[in-house]
Structures are given as structure tokens and as C-alpha cells.
Symmetry: C2
Subunit: 246 residues, 2 copies
Amino acid sequence: MPTFRLTVEYDGTDFEGWQRQPEGHRSVQAELEGALTAIAGAPVTVKAAGRTDAGVHAEGQLVAAAFATDLTPETLGRALNAKLPADVAVSGAAIAPPGWNPRFAATGKLYRYQIWNGVSRSPLRARRWLQIPQHLDLAAMQVCSESLRGTHDFASFQAAGSSVSDTVRSLARLDVAGQAGNAVLIEAEGNGFLRHMVRNLVGTLLEVGLGRKSPVWTTEVLSARCRSAAGPTAPALGLTLVRVDA
Amino acid sequence: MPTFRLTVEYDGTDFEGWQRQPEGHRSVQAELEGALTAIAGAPVTVKAAGRTDAGVHAEGQLVAAAFATDLTPETLGRALNAKLPADVAVSGAAIAPPGWNPRFAATGKLYRYQIWNGVSRSPLRARRWLQIPQHLDLAAMQVCSESLRGTHDFASFQAAGSSVSDTVRSLARLDVAGQAGNAVLIEAEGNGFLRHMVRNLVGTLLEVGLGRKSPVWTTEVLSARCRSAAGPTAPALGLTLVRVDA
């Protein structure tokens, strides 16, 4: 029984997230499992590197699927893309070691958050960019991002109600970059992320960018180890899981 | 009665094009006229620089709207964006000379056509990129584009059934560029375009890129002055009206 390693891309707009939901609610997991089950002729369940929230996109989610088949990875990928809806596709398929689980195999993840810092709405960016009409102080956001980089206890950036005991994570990269035409990209790369961590990091950077807080506030937020100390959770639509290293 | 010059952005996916259609069919013109009529309290009609086809997007369509009002352009722009649906917005508003008509005032237009030259579907590009899984010979397409640049009779690239008498146009630019990650961008800039001209140019470039025709074929196509001599019309979804100069 081969274990397949699938690279999956999806537009999260019309999904209630990665994870399977009750009947009548769309999830990426249910779409993939449905297509795999139809191909295998028997129930197939999958495991992902990370459970993205409702509205979050993925360019390179990693997924494991194990089931009895003679299909090559290439043929399986083509068969899946013929069955999957327009907003999910498999961009890569390979054979993984037996029992491979991308959640535990992942050594790093890269997330990108897209902000459209324009005065008016941008319809062509409506599905993937958070619009912020006010001036953003990018230099202040960059100072703030520097103090968040590295290994810290990120308890203040964890979703309220989470019960993870070890909240220490390493952020190899947290970059804020202004691009042509009012675009601002925030990239976060690390060995692991707490629930809502990237969106809470972005929400905190935005408090500084909007001038509501000074960049030094970030140090206070980190040391508080309390969700209410940080900025609000940024909306899901700006976030993309770009890559999982495994 | 001021004449407003509006820069309009739209995601063409869910529209049957720019032009007003019979009841029950969505058009960008009808959305804009509806919003303007609500603001003016009396019927307002608009004129655009170009009537984009169903499924074609615009970053910078130019539109004229004249009606009696005391609103400043800035206030009008904000009021329109509050009323317009998520897939249309006004990104700029200014006062134009009385009687200004962007169709006749336009001295140039820039179109971009986006091709995703990847083996598998890309859900995040589904609304704005034409997927072509086969290998594209970009060098051959570039040779082809060079012979199409300049002033020519583009009758072979005009939609069948068009009745324009003068089919001579000048293409200042027709560039084919490979980008990172399987993206191919074709940009066409000129003083005017015949109906379906950009999509027919792209369809012809693709015949060459796919190896079905040699680059020298392009010269034959031009001199034939007959629609059936050129390649097929490329799908609308890859096309964006980037900018109108006026």
C-alpha cells in the first residue's frame, strides 16, 4: 500500500478551511478525500502539514494519502485534477516512505500575507489581499518585525483558548516589504506556527504600521505571554501557505 | 454639469462584458450606471474607452460620466465604491473637459494576457490565467511577435463579421516574456485595437509557441487580410485592459 506525498494548491475563499466539517460545509480535506475515495474505490483519509483556517489559501500544502493502488504518482495527480473542483488542484505527487505524516515531517513553513495599501478597493485583489486605506509606516513595521524574529515564547500570538503547552517557536524570517503599486507583502518562515500565529503577528505589525503603537511595544507583547496583549487577528483572506519543507 | 473621468477596475469573471445587456445579464456598464443613477437621483449613462468582452478584466478602464452634481471627484469616487459590488471599483476620479469621450480621447491602450504554462491546473490563477500544459517555445513566439509589431493591416486579427473599414493599426509593443514559475506574460500596446484583436494575436502566437506553425507563418497571416488565416481566438479569462492613455 503506497503512501503518496501530494502538493496541493487551493483558493480558500469558498472553503471553511482545510479540515473536514459537518455535512453541507465545504472543506479542502473533504474534497480531496472524496476524489481519492472515488479513485480508490474505498474510503481514503488524508493528513495535511497544517490545518489552514477558513479563507486561507495554499500554494504548497503538503498532504499524505495511503491506499492500495497500482497508479503511479503522475497518473494519480492527473486523475485527481480531473475530479477536483476548480478551486483545488494537485501540483505535485510522489511516493513517500510508509507512514509518512507531513505534520510531523515538516521542518519549516513559509506563509505570505498580502496587503493592498490603496485608498480604494481593488476588485482584482478582492479574494487574496487585505485592503488597508490608511497610511502604513513600513519602516516602523520593519523595526517591529526584527524584534519578533528568532526564538521566542509566542504565547501572546496564539489563538485564545489554545491548549498547546510549549509555545516557544523559531521565526527564521519575518519580512515586511513594500512593492510597486501599493502592495505590501509580509512573509513569515519558521519551524512551526501556533494556531492563528501568522494572522496575530500581522495584526500586531499593523497596529504599529497604523501608528497606534510604537515599535518597542512589540517587546512588551512578547513578554506578556497573553493573547490580549497583542494586536487583533488579521483577516484570513490575505494569507497564503506558500510552502512546506519536508 | 461636470463631466467626470473615472478610472475603473473590475474582475470580468462574472460579467457578460462591459456593455449593458438585456435585463438579467450582468454588465460593468449597468453596475456603474446603476450606482451613478442612485447617487445623482436621475438617470446617468456612461461612455468607456473600450468595450471589453465577457470575462475580460480591467485594471484601468477609462469612463466618462456627466451629470448635475455638487460632489467633488473624490467624494463621488468614495460614494461609488460604497455602492458598487465587490467586483467593480473606481480607483480614480477627476474632472474632464465638457463632452470628453474616452473612446475618442484615447491615444493608446495597454493589454496584458496571462498564461500559466504549468502541467497542472492552478486554482489561485483560475480566474485570470489561461492554463497551457504543453511546452511553449518562447523564443519562436518572440520572433513571431516582432513581425507583428509596427503598423500593419490587422484585418486577419479582427473578429469575423466586423465591419470596420480601416483595419490598419499600430502596435507599439507586443512582448512575450517568461516569468518565474511557469508564468508567461504577453503585453500589447497600441493606438487602437480591432474587436478581438488582442485575443487573436495571442491565439496566433500560441500556434507558433505550440510548434503548430513556424514563426514565418505570421507574415502570411498578416498579408492574407482574412480572419481564417490567423490562429484561434484565445479565451477571454487571460486578458486584462491594464491602462488607457487619454
